[in-house]
């Protein structure tokens, strides 16, 4: 059976909650699914990951989902490769809490490292292949090392007539094995499926309108819900007049729970009209702080939670000893995920059981947190992942699942909710605003001898995890608190090096407990991060904290180089020690035909200044190398920045799918362009005013976008690393550096709007 009909078949779950039906639809042996219902306990059971069907096809189960990054296809390649079967003989089932191994959350570009090294899915594939070869050895009476596998057939190397198929060996039966930690992956040199540019599985269905997103889930008897969010940020519900919608066509029920308000109707348009007409009285809450003061407030807040990833050498002495010191402060705004489609979910709550279709990156945590919202037992909630619009972090996918669940519980019927554009944008968990102060002390040769970096960012809520539904708006309105903010000053001394937030610049040694795990040479170093309670809900937005920190560090290294009149690439290389980071810097510079010289240049023609800038990162300190050279034009009269060319070099270990990797680097870098030039959440005294695509401006398809060239460095023997968030991380600094190169003007506040550029150009003269 094909995947499409499986997806259709799974629709039956809403009504029947029928595991047996799914097993039958998938052609699985009874019992295979039992192993998978053990809520993650199955994860060391081979049958929880891989099933060989009677026709020799493979069904694999994964806890990491497709969110537009190409992971569904890449994971299918992985299973096909390890099991030595053709790509199209593998069906992958992703992130169904009743079927798949609990792999937590698909986030932080961790799926590639998690499932493509020897862990988890790769281990399952290798264990299954070795087990099948072992069975064949017994069946054929040939030693395992004298057997070879191709297309799901095991045969003797010496006598091809001695052969047996996977289906004959185990078709429809269980392996009854635990994952073998010593199972051997197929060596890279023998790959035929993995490492090749296999086309995205979903694409034909998507371009022909056949693909079923979560928005297209339709179950029998389904009603439509619409939520009514408060008109201002801290408002509370005083009263509502149900009579105001009584008698409107199709209206089924008005639902409230503390400050949560919603309407259920038979048709979507009826629900929307009723929600618009419903008279609700709200009491205004505390006003919002002025947007123009946000960075000052952040910097001056004294209730902070502090962390110190690194503190080595005599930092204070290095800055007070009369050395030349360079300083700069960088500012970053709140930004939003603002997914292409507003969030949607379908929930069916019947008595003490619930089924939820959601595009959540975190179906297992969602099962627990929605159980909390509904007052049910987590084991009675079944969450089924369905693809949604690209989320780039925690968008509305989870909160809308709560919306649908609450409304369904109130009416006892399945309810579909899709948020209004303004309801999603005004209330989502925004990406972090930041203030970052950088200081460097230089010796007489212009080499940096000490680096001090200190950052401030706001936090409130975030991913709900298993038990914090108040971390998102629906939970908050329904009466749950966000996880508490716990100030902590000063930060405890670091005891193990972690650069998970890229708070540590590339150029320091990262000395903690006698070990240097950073990527640079500067031995005297201190990094302090302060979290401050946010006025808005916040959450991970593609490259969270890492894009902001990298903007600061990679702009600052350029500022120091410029102060010394040294070429910024040469200056980077002078302070780097990690060979792979050095390699991506050199690769991008070479491909861009980088001309070594200090910035700024004086290239001008017809009122346009042109320049180039570089930035690089080892994402999260250990999860993907990337560098970019950006070439830009700046119109001196309007302040408009037009990037002409991005040259990107990336090293993410062994490449699973080169075209998929390129697609991520291209999209990531252009989304980075959008965030660098355009995106900023705005608000007034009462409410967020960025509520649609006119008030929150993104990069449209007609925009002037740079030509993108990509250099991939394949580390065949290395560990798989993440790829989805690296390119976006380096774009803001590369553009700032290119603008400086072109104009001599340093932009230290994102986004680089024409107004800001013009003001900076004017203040220069």
């Amino acid at each position: 059976m094909n995947r499409r009909s499986f997806l259709k078949g799974s629709g039956a779950l809403v009504v029947g909650f029928s595991i047996a039906q799914v097993a039958e639809d998938l052609g699985l042996a009874p019992g295979v699914l039992d192993a998978q219902r053990l809520d993650g306990a199955s994860s060391n059971q081979l049958d929880g990951w891989i099933s060989v069907n009677a026709d020799g096809s493979i069904t694999a189960f994964t806890g990491k989902c497709e969110i537009g990054q190409g992971l569904y296809t890449a994971q299918t390649q992985l299973v096909a490769e390890e099991l030595c079967v053709p790509f199209n003989r593998v069906k992958l089932v992703q992130c169904d809490t009743a079927l798949c191994p609990d792999q937590g959350t698909t986030s932080g570009q961790q799926s590639h490292p998690t499932n493509f090294n020897l862990g988890s899915l790769a281990l399952a594939g290798a264990t299954a292949r070795e087990a099948l070869v072992g069975l064949a050895a017994t069946r054929l009476g040939v030693a395992a090392d004298q057997l070879t596998v191709k297309d799901g057939v095991v045969s003797a190397k010496a006598d091809a007539s001695k052969r047996v198929t996977y289906a004959e060996l185990i078709g429809d039966r269980k392996f009854n094995l635990t994952l073998n930690r010593n199972a051997k992956r197929k060596p890279h040199s023998e790959w035929t499926v993995l490492g090749t540019p296999v086309a995205r599985v979903e694409l034909p269905a998507m371009v022909t309108g056949r693909f079923e997103f979560v928005h297209n889930v339709r179950v029998p008897g389904m009603l439509h819900g619409r939520v009514v969010r408060p008109p201002s940020r801290n408002a509370t519900l005083m009263s509502l007049d149900e009579d105001s919608v009584r008698g409107m066509p199709g209206v089924v029920k008005v639902v409230t729970k503390k400050n949560f308000v919603g309407v259920v109707a038979e048709k979507p348009w009826q629900a929307m009209q009723a929600a618009a007409k419903l008279k609700v009285a709200w009491a205004n809450g505390a006003p919002l702080p002025a947007q123009r003061d946000i960075h000052t407030r952040l910097r001056d807040d004294t209730r902070t939670r502090d962390t110190k990833p690194v503190d080595a050498g005599e930092v204070d002495a290095a800055f007070s000893g009369g050395a030349a010191v360079v300083k700069a402060t960088y500012l970053y705004p709140y930004q939003m995920h603002a997914s292409m489609g507003t969030a949607c979910a379908v929930a069916d709550v019947q008595g003490d059981k619930a089924t939820i279709y959601a595009a959540s990156q975190a179906v297992w945590p969602l099962r627990s947190s929605s159980a909390q919202v509904l007052g049910l037992k987590p084991e009675n909630v079944h969450v089924i992942f369905k693809q949604g619009p690209g989320c780039y972090g925690i968008n509305g996918a989870d909160t809308v699942a709560y919306d649908a669940a609450l409304l369904s519980q109130a009416v006892g019927k399945p309810v579909r909710v899709q948020l209004a554009r303004k309801d999603e944008m005004a209330w989502e968990n925004y990406g972090l605003a930041f203030v970052i102060e950088e200081r460097a002390a230089l010796d007489r040769n212009g080499t940096i001898v000490a680096w001090h970096s200190e950052g401030w960012s706001p936090t409130l809520g975030g991913r709900p995890g298993p038990n914090n539904p108040g971390n998102q708006v629906t939970g908050l309105l329904a009466g749950f608190e966000p996880q508490p903010f716990q100030p902590r000053t000063p930060a405890p001394a670091p005891n193990a090096f972690s650069n998970n937030d890229n708070a540590v610049p590339n150029y320091v040694t990262g000395l903690v407990n006698g070990k240097t795990e950073g990527t640079g040479t500067i031995a005297t170093q201190r990094v302090v991060s302060h979290s401050v309670r946010s006025v808005f809900l916040t959450g991970p937005l593609r490259a969270p904290a890492r894009i902001q920190n990298t903007f600061a560090h990679e702009s600052f290294i350029d500022e120091v180089a410029a102060s010394l009149k040294v070429d910024p690439v040469e200056y980077r290389l002078r302070h780097l020690s990690d060979p792979r980071l050095i390699a991506v810097v050199n690769a991008a510079a070479k491909a861009a035909n980088w001309s070594g010289r200090p910035s700024p240049t004086s290239s001008r023609r017809n009122g346009i200044a042109s320049g180039r800038g570089m930035a690089c990162v080892l994402y999260e300190g250990d999860n993907g190398y990337c560098s970019v050279v950006a070439e830009v034009d700046v119109r001196l009269d309007t302040g408009v920045i037009t990037p002409k060319r991005f040259v990107i070099a990336a090293d993410v270990g062994p490449i699973s799918n080169p075209d998929g990797l390129k697609n991520q680097l291209e999209g990531g870098s252009l989304q980075g362009l959008s965030r660098t030039l355009l995106e900023e959440v705005n608000w007034d005294e009462e409410k967020v005013t960025s509520i649609d695509w006119r008030t929150y401006k993104p990069l449209y398809l007609g925009a002037d976008v740079p030509k993108i060239e990509i250099v991939l460095i394949n580390q065949a023997e290395g560990e798989a690393m993440g790829a989805g968030e690296t390119a976006i991380t380096v774009v803001p600094a590369a553009i700032a550096n290119a603008v400086f190169d072109a104009t001599g003007v340093r932009l230290r506040q994102v986004p680089f709007t024409p107004e800001r550029v013009k003001a900076a150009l004017a203040s220069r003269t």
Partner: protein
């Protein structure tokens, strides 16, 4: 109110509040997956369908205005087995990430190029200036559209 229109070559009569936007009839009553709700404001293009050769935004087009219309959605262009050339161009260029914007991108480009077969790249960019791909697949999408444009010209 009873309204009759053709969708992907098939005639449908629906009994509906005439202020209902076309999108809801297509995705809810007729259960089509192609047109998507992106913003409900005509700002992103995800809901785009073609009416008699013209790309329209179905999220802001009331049913009262489409009586007698001949609507084409992504489903009406080609099939899984035999995609339309512009759909094929998107597959060949692997021009998608999450895929949610494709209805707007493909149908806007098709309607424009079918009426302006000699369009330059700048013209195409102008035509696509109100269409959003939030994953920022701009380069691949423009390549796919250009590939189709060359076929239209040829």
């Amino acid at each position: 109110m009873s309204i009759t229109l053709k969708v992907n070559g098939q005639s449908h009569t629906v009994d509906v509040d005439p202020t209902t936007p076309l999108l809801y009839v297509l995705s809810d009553d007729l259960q089509l997956n192609g047109p998507k709700f992106g913003c409900g404001l005509g700002q992103c293009g995800a809901c785009t369908v073609i009416n008699k050769g013209q790309a329209i935004r179905s999220c802001v087009t009331p049913m009262s205005m489409v009586s007698g219309a001949e609507i084409t959605t992504l489903e009406g262009l080609g099939t899984l087995e035999k995609p339309h050339p512009i759909q094929q161009a998107f597959i060949q260029e692997q021009a998608a990430q999450c895929g949610f914007c494709l209805s707007g991108v493909i149908l806007t480009a098709k309607a424009y190029l079918d009426r302006n077969p000699k369009a330059s790249e700048a013209d195409i960019r102008q035509a696509m200036s109100g269409v959003l791909c939030r994953c920022a697949g701009n380069n691949r999408m423009m390549k796919a559209i250009t590939r189709y444009a060359q076929e239209v010209k040829a």
